[in-house]
Symmetry: C2
Subunit: 219 residues, 2 copies
DNA sequence: ATTGTTCTACCGAGCGTTCGTTCACATCGC
DNA sequence: GCGATGTGAACGAACGCTCGGTAGAACAAT
């Protein structure tokens, strides 16, 4: 797992210590950011929550926004990790897509508050850091882009090649919708029903013979 | 058009004046919020931008958050207005849906910065005000819900009745995606191509007689 | 018409507070 | 004893909001 946290300078020499303390900081900050948001959380609170003094914390970061970046990076890494975990080389495209979607919705539920956090606070990052976060977001979208591509090539998914990227974005956004529209969607659908219905809406006109489950029927 | 701005008390007696000044405030605030976000905009800046003194401005609102609420209400009203404008009673469901989608994407482009604003700052509203904003969001979703419903009844749209609400949310979210993922989607698709491809992806398995030039699969 | 009174809208310096960040000093490990 | 790490009181700037006051319109009494 490539880390970009090296972008953030520290006064401390011991690299091991940096990683350990920053993990502390992330853990505390996540709790507070989820609860009250980035702007309403003070640096003093973060320090208290992660068991460091305010002075010590500032030896490991340079600004409050650095904490936000660390948090975003952590969440995105976790997300990407869990999503990649289910894509198997040997599966056909349609099967990968089906597995991928199920996993997507599962992960969105597991990490609901965290995804919502990224979603709402990314915009508070300084421009230069935001660049990296958005790139990560595109990488995650790329996972589904490749699945669709593969399905196109092995004939298990029908889709206009120029719509592949768009469809990948649709998939991610509909996954994220489970977090940022949960106030409305969650009132009418449980995760299982949401998953089933979305899969049938999304796969409906993409997969060849199949209904909702990723059956394959070569032409 | 029902206004909820009456929820916000004012020191001023003249109702006409209240409306006029608040319109000023909204206009100035929108410009600033779009440019630098809610948190980074100060009350002094808003006052200066809308041509009132800080003291006078506070005669028409009670807090900075009130300004955010006024702005959100304004944007939502404008949105709802423009979307309702194209739904005609006499149209069949599928036709309404097609018109509605085109209009949705058009409006999202026209109001891109404003929709993005609502999207990013709603969470900064106090709980009691947020309730009204979220309700409005559901009402807007309801527009497409009713279109789908009608299409189901007149047989021009095939969809599981229990998926109607979900599909309506999907439509809205995919429309909003044009604003909040424009940094990625806009790199690869113009508005026209985005509209066409989304319509074909969305209508693909819903409409009976092949619309949208795409592929037709009668019966 | 003139004067006095009242009421409404407008103004902006200033209050009290909070926040992110720093730095002089303390402590620890070798 | 010396460099690396930890500490928290203190700083200065910024912010949301208030409040004492002014201007002038409206009306009343003279």
């Amino acid at each position: 797992m490539k880390k970009n946290s090296e972008l953030i300078p520290s006064m401390i020499k011991d690299q091991r210590l940096i990683e350990q303390r920053r993990a502390q900081i992330i853990e505390g900050a996540v709790r507070l950011f989820v609860e009250k948001g980035f702007h309403k959380t003070t640096t003093r609170e973060i320090a208290r929550e992660c068991g460091l003094s305010i002075g010590t914390m500032y030896e490991y970061i340079q600004s409050k926004e650095d904490v936000l970046y660390l948090v975003c990076e952590y969440i995105h890494s976790e997300l990407e990790d869990r999503l990649r975990r289910v894509v198997a080389e040997e599966d056909q495209g349609a099967v990968s897509l089906s597995k991928g979607l199920k996993q997507l919705f599962r992960v969105m539920e597991e990490m609901r508050p965290l995804v919502l956090l990224i979603y709402q606070e990314t915009k508070s990052l300084p421009k230069d850091k935001m660049k990296y976060v958005l790139r990560k977001e595109e990488e995650i979208t790329g996972i589904f882009e490749r699945i669709l591509q593969k399905g196109m090539e092995d004939g298990t998914i029908q889709i206009d090649p120029s719509s592949v990227k768009l469809m990948a974005h649709n998939i991610i956004v509909i996954g994220q919708m489970w977090t940022f529209r949960h106030w409305a969607v969650g009132k009418h659908y449980g995760l299982e029903e949401f998953t089933e219905r979305q899969m049938s809406l999304l796969l409906g006109d993409l997969t060849t013979g199949g209904k909702t489950d990723g059956k394959t029927s070569a032409t």
